[in-house]
Symmetry: C2
Subunit: 273 residues, 2 copies
């Protein structure tokens, strides 16, 4: 355990905000190895005292004090956590005062509000978008007219996870169109897509990577052969170029980054949930 | 547009970190209405100058200066953004120096690292978990032995979105088991679930809400009748109690919160992607 620095994401809600910013911060320090733990729903001083003891013990075990990324809104809870002796980084504190001054009001204290109670409309929009993504996956029961956007790609290039992410986090109705061998014999858009040109975004992928993914799915099939992957990817890329469809390679790109680029390129503005 | 305060989430990556913390901060100020925009991939001073001009104009339009939640790591980019005259809130700046002191090292500058380039293993784990969630949705082709956890509930109580969220963000292999009418005639666990007791988590829901959701899906069906919803929910809750399955109501709970509570309750520790 030597050389490991314990890090705790502590929150009165889910801990997602604390973990998101904490993760970004830690990636800036590559000389240290971190062992991280998320402790959500710390919403009372009593619970904070228990958690502080756990944090103190982790410091003892690792021979170095812990780092706490704290997103609890209540100052008393924060003070109880600080009893652990850890380095306390409070993700909201530095911004509250400048905002209070700028907006000329005192903040409300909504514990766990960020990802907490939800209204029915929001929930409904997310779920409907997700159902849309799942029922329009791989060309099933397609009504592209209802789609906010349509991802076009060969099989296993990353369409489904991107569609689901867009639905879950932005409430976007994302359909996808899997390019078939027949589609790929032509350099033209498949007829069903032509009337939706403004909604199209092409995904591509390194054929070597595609071959790995397909091999895992259907080992030693023709579908998974490198020659098949190479031919399909080349044909898809040629079609995207000929039809001027905006395109992104998913090979080294996270789902978050693909999603963000698709929205920016198509000019779709939505708040994250 | 009077009374609206423009807010920009500006990032050298996807903007997810900036929007996550910014959203949490804004929920603390309920007297102001905000109009928000995310501007990702601002990775040069030149691009930052264009963005600053856009931000300045938004302030002019709304008659009040904008707020910028900035997660760009590069100081020169931040300085160019500040030329907009907006209130600048830099989400990383307050924490870098204390961390540098604590860890006794200077931070690396990895632009867009947080949600940027990904290694194949991570991507693979997410995608495999997601495929698992989708192919194990609603009791299809079930191999519960491979599941990290199994959500149990009546139809439309929130199993699928939670499974997909757990897969996408934690790489968790989450299966789900839809309770059938036959299952609900008994107060006992369905036989197929008995050997996986430690992996089970029950979701429940207010019958009124359930009725709304089902009504939208299959209008005026027996499935969507209030009496059906009420009976199914009561039977499911009785079974969870009798079998001591941990349970959560999804009625007023976000997908993030459900996911976090499921993991905490089952003692599953995973880092978020």
């Amino acid at each position: 355990m030597a050389g490991m620095r314990p890090v705790f994401y502590v929150s009165d809600g889910t801990g997602i905000t604390a973990e998101t910013i904490g993760h970004s911060l830690l990636t800036q320090f590559t000389d240290t190895r971190f062992v991280t733990d998320r402790i959500p729903f710390v919403d009372s001083v009593e619970r904070a005292r228990e958690v502080a003891e756990k944090i103190r013990l982790a410091g003892e075990t690792h021979g170095v004090r812990a780092v706490v990324i704290n997103s609890c809104m209540d100052g008393d809870v924060g003070a109880a956590l600080a009893e652990s002796g850890a380095l306390m980084l409070d993700v909201f504190a530095p911004f509250i005062e400048p905002l209070e001054r700028e907006l000329e009001q005192t903040r409300q204290r909504h514990i766990g509000r960020a990802h907490g109670l939800v209204d029915f409309d929001t929930y409904h929009r997310r779920i409907n978008a997700m159902n849309f993504a799942l029922t329009h996956d791989d060309g099933q029961s397609v009504d592209y007219a209802e789609a906010d956007l349509i991802l076009v790609a060969v099989s296993r290039a990353g369409k489904t996870p991107t569609c689901v992410y867009l639905a879950l986090h932005y409430g976007i109705r994302a359909a996808n169109y899997p390019l078939t061998e027949e589609d790929l014999e032509h350099d033209r858009l498949p007829p069903r897509l032509r009337q939706h040109r403004g909604k199209l975004f092409g995904l591509t992928i390194d054929p070597v990577r595609l071959q790995q993914i397909r091999q895992e799915r259907r080992p030693n099939s023709r579908y998974a052969q490198f020659e098949t992957c190479k031919r399909e990817v080349a044909a898809a890329e040629a079609m995207f170029r000929a039809e001027r469809i905006p395109t992104l390679s998913t090979t080294h790109t996270s789902i978050e980054e693909i999603s963000s680029k698709v929205l920016t390129t198509l000019g779709i503005h939505r708040e994250m949930f």
